[in-house]
Amino acid sequence: MKSKFGARWIKVALVATATLGLAAVSLPASYAADNAEFYVVQGLPGKNLEVAVDGKTVAKNVKTAAVAGPFKIKAGSRKVTFSDGGDVLVDRMFSVKAGSSWDAVVHLPASTGDDPVVTVFRNDLATVPKGKASLVVAHTASVPPADIRVDGKVLFENIANGESLKLTVPVGTYEVAIVPTGEKKPVILGPVALTVKGGAVNRVYAVGDPEKKTMNVAVHVLPTGSSGSGKPSKVDTGTGGQATGQGSDLTPLSGELVKLTR
């Protein structure tokens, strides 16, 4: 069934973001150990943003759904300014501790008409188990609280503008759709085929406004490294023989295989 907004398929390739074709200007490297870093996630439809930190331009021409950075900043309180064509759209003070990593998302508010919002999310760069990915979905769009359906199941429930949810998932491609909380339609975005990258945190931001047909996703992949050991080929858990005959109803030794109902 066609949704109100058109259930179009958007192929989202999660490529390491680096600076996506941006004229990024690095701040002086003299800060060393008391640095923090942040990325800019551009969630404003139809804008090409210039980003400044404490008045210094760090990136220009940041397009909708692009991720720019990382920008090294000195720990403490910094002013971040977002402008388009010389007009300051929004500026905010941003306090960061040394060694922290952040995504600063400039996006539409929950209800249209209000000023753009800057929401910051701290990046958790803890290692992810081998063969898995950390998937974080954030709501930074101009829509009411929503459910995020993954492969047809609600895995992220009732998430409001400015909120995010995190899951550990096996590496693979998932069908992701955003729908109003508790509903199956109208589909606000998607389904989107999302391929998550292993050993990384995959941050997905829903941005835009369905009423204006500007819904989109911004994707930010940060490598974290993997933890954990590989699949065992053998489990030896009995060397004494004392437990022989303890089972009251041992299943026959037919080599019968484990069947898992999915």
Partner: protein, 202 residues
């Protein structure tokens, strides 16, 4: 230049101040250069429905048989479970308890030559419907047993799905069973107990 205007107005002292082409823009920028006048960013926060995922640290079997769970690594293809037969091992490459997908694998000795009968000998009497509790990091998740099977040891990894990390989340408990062959130092088979989560981890 627009860029120069922004830098000139908001930048640190000592930078060349370039006259603003529009008085309005200049006034706005000057007002914004007062730090106290600029609001702070909004902190993103987890939604209330954030799923709890945790590393198992304790398991309780039916009949209140309990055991400490320690991380267990695969070394040369063999899952190295704790030597202490009263402890069991969580394969460190398997799912955390409460994840949306994949199996959380916990294996333990049924017995050992030096330690006697192990805590997982209790699994030999486990039945479908039994409830097993996994705890860790102040969280807990209960599971209900859905299958109890014996698998030839060499078929455990290849033909069973015990270690699969796709599909719905489940708990997979493994110990040894079958014929004890003293000359070969072990049992012929593995006992595999599969249990499904009763709701979400808390």
């Amino acid at each position: 230049m627009v860029l120069s205007l922004l830098v000139g107005c908001a930048g640190p002292a000592g930078q060349p101040a370039i006259p603003a082409p529009q008085a309005k823009a200049s006034a706005t920028a000057s007002a914004r250069s007062e730090p106290s006048a600029v609001p702070t960013v909004r902190q993103g926060r987890p939604a209330r429905s954030q799923r709890v995922e945790f590393v198992p640290q304790r398991i309780t079997l039916p009949g209140r048989a309990g055991a400490e769970v320690q991380p267990a690594e695969t070394v040369d293809g063999v899952l190295e479970v704790p030597e202490n037969v009263q402890h069991v091992g969580w394969w460190d490459g398997s799912a955390y308890a409460g994840e949306a997908f994949g199996s959380t694998v916990i294996a333990g000795h049924v017995d050992s030559a030096t330690g006697g009968v192990g805590v997982f000998a209790r699994l030999l009497r486990t039945k479908i419907g039994d409830v097993i509790t996994v705890e860790g990091d102040s969280h807990r998740l209960r599971y209900r047993v859905t299958s109890v099977q014996t698998v030839a040891k060499q078929a455990l990894a290849t033909d069973s799905q015990a270690f699969e990390q796709t599909g719905d989340h489940r708990l997979v408990l493994i110990t040894c069973t079958g014929t004890f062959r003293r000359d070969q130092g072990g049992y012929s088979s593995n006992l595999v107990v599969v249990a499904k989560p009763l709701g979400l981890a808390r």
